[in-house]
């Protein structure tokens, strides 16, 4: 197992957000985390990257407790891709992607780091944006830049916080394809919080469904994304069709 989350508990000022979370992530596996707003998806991802400190439980990365790891060591292993940019002052795409090298170097960046950035930009087909300001890009382009930054970090595990939430359908597919390919080719494992059940069904190897800070169900898409589960967790009546062996969800009406 690449990553193990055991008995994780987290609360914001005595309001419990995560309870008794247990997750295992295999090498080169893409895990989709679904659930309604406030289910704790983003909080879970932030706990795994030590952006938040859980009150209870352990997270093991390659059998090592991340609590005992130096921040920089952890940053060399786990990459985080945020939902949107919070950059206020100007930064070029090149410099933004170069930040991914931070865990690997000191004050100066070397020729090798420049090459790494160029390589990644080319791989994601965004080299034409290199000298543009990150804030002048569209949501889809920004998302690709964040993926590029996380990849120059050369992590073993990628954490994605709703990577498609601001994107049009074309960019949704592009971004998901990129992530899927990276997971395959580089043997990286990924955990992504995602709202769109159909994207989760199509791209995730395994799905964890959360509700009220707890894991409601986990397994492959067909076993988790059932009309019963969707009704109980989301309060929505839905039809689940078979689409090339993957469940395809058609929401019908909120349960009254």
């Amino acid at each position: 197992m690449k990553l193990k989350v055991k008995d994780l508990e987290f609360s914001y000022a005595h309001v419990p957000v995560l309870k008794d979370i247990r997750i295992e992530l295999a090498e080169s596996e893409m895990l989709g985390v679904v659930g309604p707003n406030g289910a704790g998806k983003s909080t879970l991802i932030r706990c795994i990257d030590r952006i938040l400190k859980p009150q209870h439980g352990t997270i093991l990365l390659d059998e090592r407790d991340i609590k005992d790891m130096h921040l920089m060591d952890l940053a060399r292993k786990i990459g985080y891709i945020p939902q949107s940019s919070s950059q206020i002052f100007p930064a070029t795409v090149f410099d933004t992607v170069l930040m991914g090298r931070r865990p690997h170097l000191g004050w100066r960046s070397s020729e090798k780091d420049t090459e790494k950035v160029l390589e990644t930009l080319q791989m994601l087909n965004i080299e034409d944006l290199a000298m543009q300001d990150i804030n002048e890009l569209s949501g889809g382009q920004q998302q690709k830049v964040f993926i590029a930054r996380a990849l120059t970090q050369e992590p073993d595990v990628l954490l994605l916080d709703e990577p498609t939430s601001n994107l049009d359908i074309r960019h949704q597919l592009e971004v998901m394809d990129i992530i899927k390919n990276i997971v395959r080719e580089r043997g990286i494992s990924a955990i992504m919080a995602i709202h769109d059940l159909n994207l989760a069904s199509r791209y995730a190897d395994r799905i964890v469904m959360m509700n009220g800070g707890e894991i409601f169900d986990a397994g492959d898409a067909a076993s988790v994304l059932t009309p019963e589960n969707i009704k109980r967790v989301y309060g929505v009546e839905a039809e689940v069709n078979n689409n090339h062996g993957r469940p395809y969800i058609v929401p019908i009406r909120p349960v009254r």
Partner: protein
């Protein structure tokens, strides 16, 4: 397209981007050099201006000779003992205030931040007023005013440090705490002034505006030490501040201890500001305007922004002081008035022509 031509165009494109990136860095270095030259020009002009006429060539030859022997003639004494300390203080103060402003804007992620955002100037003002009006302070003797201004200007920083033990050190908590302290100090200063003699009130008030009139060789040394001591650690943390610009969460995921770095930079920038304004008074606007102007030209990379803002800030302050000395000569205006008068409209102009939310 065959695979090989694809590879060739790929390699070509890469080389092109690399070239563009190098040019971008070249532009930043050019701007820094330009600022240095600007300082030399303004300093040269500033040294010739004044009630005693001296030409530029004379100025430089006097400075050169003065390096080897003590000043003897009137001209030499005017340059070495009157004008040069003032010019040097202007440069040091400009560098320090602009760098402190750039870094505080960076860690607070707020374009309105300046060296005085966290209540530093208000604290210094109260300390100075206490010394001027009541003659009371923590250090006796001729350093009463300077010592008071320095120590009181650091109080807000320590209060924020204390708060950070209970609340997370987010930009919002820090700015709000700074504003709260600013009001407390302002109220205390006003109360103090309300019950004192008009002459003392006037003196205290003009201390707060800030001027280079009290510059002397004696003051240059401590200011230089503070400036060196603070700029080096700020430069060392510049990349972490870049990373923090991408958001706290991203910065944490890249291994930066965000809260600790934010506190560290706040303390250093406050020390830097305090070390300068205790000698000059709270000269405003340089720390706000200089970093923004530099960002417009060279972008937001703090590794270049720190030296660029510092040098450009020095040129701005020196220029403002030169105008302040000559505009209605023989009356010498406090430079703080000029920086505000120049900075205000300049800032409005920048806001008008902004390309997007911030540059």
């Amino acid at each position: 397209m065959t695979l090989s031509t694809e590879m060739i165009t790929g390699a070509k494109k890469r080389a092109e981007i690399k070239e563009q990136y190098k040019r971008f860095i070249g532009r930043k270095i050019l701007f820094i050099l330009f600022s240095i030259i600007l300082i030399f020009i303004i300093a040269g002009v500033a040294a010739t201006l004044g009630s005693y006429p001296i030409t530029v060539m004379e100025v430089y030859s006097i400075i050169f000779h003065g390096l080897f022997q003590n000043p003897e003639t009137t001209k030499e004494i005017v340059i070495w003992n009157l004008r040069l300390p003032r010019i040097l203080m202007g440069i040091l103060a400009g560098v320090g205030l602009a760098i402190a402003g750039a870094m505080l804007q960076g860690i607070l992620k707020n374009p309105m931040a300046s060296p005085f955002t966290l209540g530093i100037a208000a604290g210094a003002g109260f300390g100075a007023a206490l010394a001027i009006i009541l003659g009371a302070g923590l250090i006796a003797g001729k350093y009463l005013l300077i010592g008071n201004a320095f120590l009181f200007s650091l109080i807000p920083t320590f209060v924020i440090l204390g708060l950070a033990r209970y609340r997370r050190a987010t930009p919002e908590t820090m700015i709000l705490a700074g504003i709260a302290l600013l009001y407390i100090f302002h109220a205390s200063t006003t109360l103090l002034m309300y019950f004192s003699e008009p002459e003392a009130v006037k003196e205290a008030y003009f201390w707060m505006v800030g001027s280079l009139g009290k510059a002397s060789w004696e003051n240059i040394l401590p200011v230089s030490i503070v400036l060196m001591g603070c700029t080096i650690p700020l430069m060392w943390k510049s990349w972490d501040v870049n990373v923090m610009g991408a958001g706290d969460e991203t910065a944490k995921s890249l291994g930066v201890n965000v809260e600790r770095t934010r506190i560290f930079i706040m303390v250093i920038a406050s020390l830097l500001t305090a070390g300068i304004i205790c000698f000059t008074g709270a000269i405003g606007f340089i720390g706000l305007v200089a970093p923004h102007m530099c960002r417009m030209v060279i972008g937001g990379d703090n590794r270049f922004l720190i030296p660029a803002s510092g040098l450009f800030g020095a040129a701005l302050l020196l220029g403002a002081d030169t105008v302040a000395r000559t505009i209605i000569a023989p009356v010498i205006l406090p430079v703080g008035v000029l920086t505000a008068f120049m900075g205000g409209p300049l800032f409005l102009y920048l806001i008008m022509r902004k390309r997007r939310e911030y540059w």
